[in-house]
């Protein structure tokens, strides 16, 4: 997909661009805020990756300008500031996601994929379906092949998140932030534990596995083609 990367650090920017290109994306790299602003306003991108600290201008100022001019492209903010207030500020300025440097490349790729509007968002649907797995968001029920599956509240949230992001990799950090609302890294393997329980309930006894582990990246819910 077509991405805009606004990053002033030459070496870091070039590395990110290369890695994103290797993952199959077309990347325009703007080395300063002005150029980034021009590109963002003029070209149709699927995701904008915006460094928060740019020479001369605050990335947030650019983000606000982009939003004020009616551009609705999802924006992923990159930052070296990991404070709680910094995150809130970034999201309030119109950012869609926030990634603190340094990060693993797999994390960035997963988040870019999660932000892209393809396939169309399923947020508004009241039922989510993957193969014979059905999740009713209103009744808060889950069935697989017609058989009811009982889930704990957290397991339900976890499954809902995976189903909403079907076909895309979700990382452990994304799950912690979205499902648990933990913006820190607990040392305990709570994601893994909940995931293995969820898999036991959803996938065990069914020939077809829907939840997959993606080595070195995270998890992915998908049905085989």
């Amino acid at each position: 997909m077509k991405l805009l990367l606004v990053e002033d650090d030459k070496e870091g920017g070039a590395y990110l661009k290369k890695a994103l290109a290797e993952a199959g994306h077309t990347v325009d790299h703007a080395a300063d805020g002005r150029q980034g602003l021009l590109l963002a306003a003029g070209e149709p991108y699927e995701v904008i990756i915006l460094d928060r600290m740019l020479p001369g201008v605050d990335g947030l100022a650019i983000l606000r300008t982009i939003r004020a001019s009616g551009v609705k492209t999802p924006v992923l903010l990159l930052t070296a500031l990991g404070g709680i207030d910094d995150r809130v500020e970034g999201l309030e300025a119109g950012g869609d996601d926030y990634l603190v440097k340094p990060f693993a490349m797999a994390e960035l790729l997963a988040r870019v994929n999660a932000l892209a509007r393809r396939p169309p968002p399923q947020d508004v649907q009241t039922t989510l379906e993957v193969a014979d797995l059905k999740l009713d968001r209103l009744r808060r029920t889950v069935t697989r092949g017609g058989a009811r599956i009982e889930l704990q509240p957290r397991e339900f949230q976890l499954l809902e998140y995976l189903m909403r992001h079907r076909g895309r990799v979700v990382t452990r950090t994304m799950l912690l932030e979205s499902v648990w609302d933990f913006h820190f890294d607990p040392k305990t393997n709570i994601v893994e534990t909940h995931m293995s329980r969820l898999r036991a309930k959803v996938d065990r006894g069914h020939g077809l596995e829907l939840i997959h582990t993606v080595r070195g990246a995270g998890y992915c819910m998908s049905e085989p083609d």
């Binding site: 404070g83 704990q152 609302d181 913006h183 820190f184 607990p186 040392k187 305990t188 534990t193 909940h194």
Partner: protein, 462 residues
């Protein structure tokens, strides 16, 4: 000193007082002059009427006699009586050419300097003219006295004002100089220096106290910063050394698989170092206190319940038990994200250091206090080490081999301090109990922020 604000103020006040003395003097002088001149005129008027009466009753000879008689008495007025043809008849002023009515005469009496006389010329019956006058000597003398009096008053005001102003500004100047001196000393590096306080509780004293409190706060922050730097230097050296060794060793590895494994290990080391950094920065941020602005009512029991539900499966898988004892809704003013992290750290700490054990999370209210405690039945912490486990990077000797940065409880202490809560450790018999007490909860409104040494480090129980 001569550029001091107080001295300038004193000078302005002195000038203002001096000006009022001058204005007052001028008004008094004018009023005196007007009163004297009215009195003078009235006296001459009365004399003229009296002599006219004399002329009517006693005739010309009576008037001449009266004039001569009066001129003989010392300090008397001057008189002049002229015949209708202008011939002098009697009196010192008989030869004067004064017109009718009030006028001023200049004349030089024998054996004296020239003097100016104010005279009234009236007509008597039969065409005679009567001139009566006096010099202004008395008026001038009185005016002189008034002027002299006010001159002295003016001098007094200026001298007293200058002395008082100098004294006043000297006192203020000395105290301001002490403040400036303290500030200069601090700039030069003497961070322990404080502004002297007199104890008079006046505005300068209160200013000094406020500045001292500000300086205390800054020093505390500086100290925390210094502590963080030295902690980082000390505790990151070990993992960095390990990382370096690993990378160095990987250079000589031939097989790609070995190299990949070594690099993977190096990445893990880097991640661990970054985790430590993140934790340190977070603690520093919490200690900065900026998060207090985001406080809102939070139900501690609900937070604890959530944490227990999230961690119970992992504990179960590890052969441990994590249970909750619910004390009902427990609302405190706080930051839910930080309080959650605090609870997570307490639970993780208990699970990590009490393998195969049971961990209980308990919420309760005692009077106005909200209490959340986490207790395990693991090996516990020796009493003499309890105070130190909230320090950054502090780890018990036997925990050195288990993973962990040694920052978990330091963060707990920082979050508790931010919320004005007291953390205490106790012997859970066996095991360790950590109690966090939020004082004066919900409707009490304000939470106290007690001094940190007492609030977070105090040990209770055994």
């Amino acid at each position: 000193m001569f550029r001091s604000t107080s001295l300038r103020l004193a000078a302005v006040y002195t000038a203002a007082f001096a000006l009022s003395v001058v204005v007052l003097g001028a008004i008094t002088l004018l009023a005196t002059r007007a009163a004297l001149s009215r009195q003078f005129d009235a006296r001459i008027d009365a004399e003229a009427s009296a002599l006219a009466q004399e002329f009517r009753t006693e005739g010309l000879t009576g008037v001449v006699q009266a004039v001569e008689e009066r001129e003989r008495t010392p300090g008397a007025l001057d008189y002049g009586l002229q015949a209708p043809n202008g011939r002098p008849v009697a009196g010192r002023l008989a030869g004067s050419q004064a017109p009718l009515g009030w006028s001023t005469l200049r004349m030089t009496p024998p054996g004296g300097g020239p003097e100016s006389l104010r005279v009234l010329t009236t007509t008597l019956p039969e065409g005679y003219r009567l001139v009566i006058g006096d010099d202004d000597e008395q008026t001038e003398a009185l005016e002189g006295a008034v002027l002299q009096g006010f001159g002295w008053a003016l001098a007094g005001v200026v001298v007293l004002g200058a002395l008082g102003g100098y004294g006043l500004s000297y006192g203020v100047h000395r105290r301001l100089a002490a403040m400036t001196g303290a500030a200069e000393a601090i700039i030069d590096g003497d961070l322990a220096r404080r502004i002297p306080v007199r104890g008079s509780d006046d505005d300068l004293d209160r200013l000094a106290v406020t500045f001292n409190r500000m300086l205390d706060r800054i020093s505390a922050l500086m100290e925390s910063l210094r502590q963080v730097s030295s902690d980082i230097a000390h505790d990151l050296r070990t993992p960095l050394t390990r990382l370096r060794q690993r990378l160095e060793a990987s250079r000589t590895l031939r097989r790609p698989a070995d190299r990949a494994e070594a690099l993977g290990g190096a990445l893990e080391d880097v991640d661990a170092i970054l985790d430590t950094f993140a934790a340190l920065l977070r603690i520093a941020q919490i200690e900065g206190g900026a998060r207090r602005a985001a406080f809102r009512p939070v139900d501690l029991t609900a937070l604890a319940r959530g944490v227990v539900d999230d961690f119970a499966p992992s504990a179960e898988d590890a052969g441990q038990a994590l249970a909750m004892e619910d004390g009902g809704p427990l609302v405190v003013e706080g930051d839910p994200e930080l309080l959650t992290q605090m609870l997570v750290n307490l639970v993780e700490n208990a699970l990590r250091h009490a393998p195969g054990a049971q961990v209980r999370v308990l919420t309760a209210s005692e009077g106005a206090d909200a209490i959340v405690s986490v207790a395990d039945n693991g090996p516990g912490v020796p009493a003499d080490e309890r105070r130190r486990i909230f320090d950054r990077f502090y780890r018990l000797e036997r925990s050195r081999s288990t993973p962990g940065s040694g920052l978990g409880l330091a963060l707990v202490a920082a979050v508790a301090r931010l919320h004005g809560a007291a953390v205490s450790l106790s012997d859970a018999k066996p095991g360790l109990g950590v109690r966090v007490v939020f004082r004066g909860r919900p409707s009490g409104g304000t939470l106290a922020f007690p001094n940190e040494a007492e609030s977070s480090r105090s040990t209770s129980g055994v």
